[in-house]
Symmetry: C2
Subunit: 231 residues, 2 copies
DNA sequence: ACCTGAACACCGTTCAAGT
DNA sequence: ACCTGAACACCGTTCAAGT
């Protein structure tokens, strides 16, 4: 177990830094570099070492290409990160469409959560794409439709959608931290460490503490219930 | 107006980088460095240039001290950022206590929101302090108490608290972006740019779009309503 | 005890030069 | 047209040395 503080990105930092380079030997021949190839490699790097392992230099090294060649395809690193966030927001395999709008909405949010848990260190980039961005349109159209069908006004539907979004991303961030800590301490699947405030000063909190870190799948569904009002 | 992409931290980056140093001339005499002094200066730097302007070197320069002297008081930069986040979470001037638990809870969340809007680039650090951390205890005790008083079970109270937390932080992040964009384009106080999806493919979204960027104060209250169920 | 200064191993990005 | 390589202006952090 290391004594270093993880960043929001859950990456190793400092001396024990995770480095991902792999194919430093082979050279990618001319003309093969493209947004697609770069995004694939970038996602691999993030998959292995988290977003802090993704540097222009590391990405270049992985593809056997000079780091500065990347700037032919992305204006800067931020644009690359936004493109990765876009992939997560759009998802793979399309949105659920069973015919039940509310069920589809819930499943869409579960899908988003799964994506976020697979690439937890990209969550900040995802949260940076404002809710009105094109990447969100498909998911949002579905959500607003479901909420309107449930009898909500357009104004209410818009507000509830934003609330749902923040909840899903925030929840995934906390769960990702939990997973990372248990991986680090070899206690995968262990329950979350219980909050332990002094009962004398924090009676209410102490009583609620055991429930704070209940099963996170259940908690996610409960959260959806409380926002969607189907409690 | 610049064409560069802002980070989550809303800072300038790249060539037009914001730098904050000021007192590069005077030297702080020996023995005057402390966590308190460092935190105050760090907050000033973040206030002026955002969190990306805060480097160990910049902080040292501002205090007329070698950057590495900081490591006497904070193990590393992460610990310094956590301490700054702590200040935001705890707030200044104490929690509201009018006697009405639900009103106090709402006011406490508004207080947190105001803090986040004053130092928006610290929001990621705030979100990184897990909900069970000591910094949250006072606010959480109050929240859980109010929710229990409102008739909720301990499990429900814990879940609703987390939902509220994610909502407040996420909402502040979006609003901070909005403020930063309007500052950059000299349109302070202007309404948010309307989402404009093609109406043919996104009929529901197009109809709800005008409400998506309604007054953010109202939207915040509406969001609280929808989570707290007093709709 | 507390701070300095050089050093190490990194960054993102620009720009002239090569093929 | 596309990629390279040197260069610039930065990082966080360590460690031996100074006061």
């Amino acid at each position: 177990m290391s004594d270093e503080q993880d960043g929001l990105d859950l990456d190793e930092s400092g001396p024990g830094r995770v480095t991902v380079s792999a194919a430093a030997g082979r050279r990618t021949p001319r003309g093969t570099l493209s947004r697609q190839v770069l995004l694939d490699s970038a996602r691999e790097i993030v998959d292995i070492g988290g977003v802090t392992a993704l540097s222009m230099r590391a990405l270049g090294a992985r593809l056997g290409v000079d780091p500065t060649a990347i700037y032919r395809h992305f204006q800067n690193k931020n644009e690359l990160l936004d493109a990765l966030a876009d992939l997560m927001i759009r998802g793979e395999g399309g949105l659920p469409a069973t015919g039940d709008p509310v069920a589809d909405l819930r499943e869409s949010l579960r899908q988003l959560r799964r994506q976020l848990l697979r690439y937890p260190t990209l969550a900040p980039s995802v949260l940076r794409q404002p809710p009105g961005t094109g990447s969100w349109w498909d998911r949002m159209e579905q959500a607003v439709g479901a909420l309107r069908a449930g009898g909500r006004s357009e104004a209410e539907a818009a507000a509830v959608w934003q609330t749902l979004l923040f909840f899903v991303v925030g929840h995934a961030l906390v769960e990702a931290r939990h997973l990372a800590e248990n991986l680090a301490t070899d206690r995968v699947g262990a329950p979350m460490p219980t909050v332990n405030p002094p009962r004398s000063r924090y009676p209410e909190l102490a009583a609620a503490a055991p429930f704070l870190h209940a099963d996170l799948d259940d908690q996610f569904e409960t959260g959806l219930d409380s926002i969607l009002g189907s409690r």
